[in-house]
Amino acid sequence: MRANAAAQLLRCLEEEGVEVIFGYPGGAVLPIYDALVDAPIRHVLVRHEQGAVHAADGYARASGRVGVCLATSGPGATNLVTGLATAYMDSVPVVAITGQVARPLVGSDAFQEADVVGITRATTKHNYAVTRPAELPRVVHEAFHLARSGRPGPVLIDLPKDVTLADGPFPHPQAPPSRRGYRPRLEPDPAEVEAAAAALAGAQRPVVMVGGGIIHGGAAGELRRFLETTGFPAVSTLMGLGALPADDPRHLGLVGMHGTYAANRAVSQADLVLGLGLRFDDRVTGNASRFAPRARIVHVDIDPSEIGKNVRADVAVLGDLIRVLPRLLERLLAVWAASGRPDPAPWWEALRSWQAHQGWDLHTPMELGGEEGRPLRPQGVIQQVARVAGPEAIVATDVGQHQMWTALLFPFRRPRQLITSGGLGTMGYGLPAAIGAQMAEPERPVWLVTGDGSFQMNVQEMATAVNYGLPLRVVIVDNRSLGMVRQWQELFHQARYSAVMLEPLPDWVRLAEAYGWQGWKVERAAELEPALAALAEARGPALVDVVVDAQENVFPMVPAGAALDEVLLENPGGRSPRPAQASPRRAGVGQPAG
């Protein structure tokens, strides 16, 4: 056992409860890799540093614990940047450790030197350059605290090689760490709660917007009690999916650009919006100046900088949702008890009519296609995947059409079930994130719904899955193109297609075999079920390449810059998401408000 700072680093990680780190070695981290030989921490050797940080992120999202990744200086560290930005956007607790050139060389453009602290300043919650070995334990302890507390996020620690080689002493840090400039407000101000309760009590058309903060804050149970007691309808952001079971009758589904008709109409017509742990991102609000035009907005968040950032907040409550929700409920019930509550029936009548108006929801069997020479339709495929994957599965996605179809059609039932890059929209996220999720939850089946574009962006991680015997179940929704970009070009650039066709593509089945995976290709409806059954049963990692209609578009869609009630339910030309028992379409383009 070495006694240097590298060994101390690993002891510090153990004290933080770290069981696994995802990494890739190189010159500047040789002392850390040397110390790993003797340490009980499990190291997962990824095949690209971006895989390491996405895996740490997937691990964190699936488990709620801090994910840890390790990369060398220079290119190793810069390869982490996308993953850090991904984690930062979605408030995921990750600690990244990077090597740095030795202190005497810093600033000299040494071999594999990059100003990683400078580069990652805007993509981390905080970052550190460790310049004295003695401060290492404090820095590590503080980094984990920052990553997991308040609004979670990624934290980076840059360690010069000569620091990691230095000997102690390494003073034990105080616990808990104390930074006078970092004191997240957890306990809500009673006056703010009272103001929120007063606003809610008089609402005739309330709607609750559920964000990722409910999941990060472990407040799904409090949310359920709040909704059960109040009977308020709820919509979910992409990051909020799973906080509320999809089949909860109060859940109107996904809100925003590809949200359900009912969810978006509800927000547009509401007289009160209660936003819980979300940042009102532009994909959620549509045109922010026309967002919820009839509503007072009550915004509950742990991060003061989110209040009023994207949309006005008429009432703000700062605090931890797990503490805010019970108090808000208690005060709301008190106000209702004193002054009565508005009749919820007319509002629910409107909501139910909007649900019916869309003509389908995630429980409606969608047309599968794939018969009589017609191509398979991705919506039906994803529903089939959901059935085979079952309620226990963790589902990761990449980014694009398949991601939105998964969000719309997969019946998410619990927090941390969906692992997806929401804010940054990082293609290539899915496979390494699924690896991280499987490491965190070895007993659960982990499925990845991906696209032929996204999957290629970190395809090298197929080797990692084999290396560690991770039985990932991958479904490639294969449209031979960048479907979402193609959709935008079709709808908003007069179908002038530019750089969206991805052929030639690899033969996915042979690629799977080359990596030591199993693989099946599906082109017809009859092949789908057996292939998915084989996938579910596979002992190691396996994929099914499902060739789908390349012309399919994601609907509903609120075009960028439009208000939430200006929704396209189908192609202007008439192609649409279609239930298996197709009923005549009632909805056309641009449903007017009202």
Binding site: A122, H126, R183, P184, R185, D189, S305
Partner: protein
């Protein structure tokens, strides 16, 4: 509209870079920036002047407070604060106009801090409007070079923010 924010930060390496990069990535231009030590050796104070409306100001203030090394950021309104800037100017002092230049310097209460055959270096302190007016007058003599510190601002009276009450609402250990 210009606004000034006072920012108390940890006196640590890299903090200024963190603050400056945050301001620019949130879409603000820095009109003026001054940084220096405070009554507490572990704390530095940054005075930041940017343009924007009230909502922009509050947005930036909250983003600044999110930085771990920022202890506090607050708005310093023009009407209830003292604002000062120091400027040094090397101005041409032809023998024929030297007396006139010294007279102008006197009017603005600027000090002569260097003299040579062709130029003077003048120092003055004042609010930004005074500095601007001073520079306008000096331009007539021929300004060779200007260096300004940026604005520092101090509330005239102790701020009304009840600090103790604010802290009591926070968790002692997060």
């Amino acid at each position: 509209m210009e606004f000034a924010l006072a920012v108390r930060v940890e006196n640590e390496p890299g903090v200024l870079a963190r603050v400056a990069s945050l301001v620019s990535r949130r879409g603000f231009n820095i009109e003026s920036l001054a940084v220096g030590p405070t009554e507490d050796a572990s704390v530095s104070r940054i005075t930041l002047v940017c343009k924007g409306d009230e909502r922009d100001r509050e947005r930036l203030r909250r983003q600044l407070e999110k930085l771990v090394e920022v202890l506090e950021a607050w708005h310093v309104p023009g009407e209830s604060s003292v604002r000062r800037e120091l400027a040094l100017v090397r101005v041409r002092a032809d023998p024929g106009r030297r007396a006139e230049l010294l007279q102008v310097a006197g009017i603005f209460r600027s000090r002569v801090v260097h003299v040579d055959r062709s130029a003077l270096v003048l120092e003055t302190t004042g609010d930004p409007e005074k500095i601007q007016a001073w520079l306008e007058v000096l331009r007539d003599f021929g300004i060779e070079e200007v260096a300004r510190t940026g604005i520092v601002a101090l509330d005239r009276e102790r701020r009304a923010v009840p600090q103790a009450e604010f802290e009591s609402r926070e968790e002692a250990a997060f």
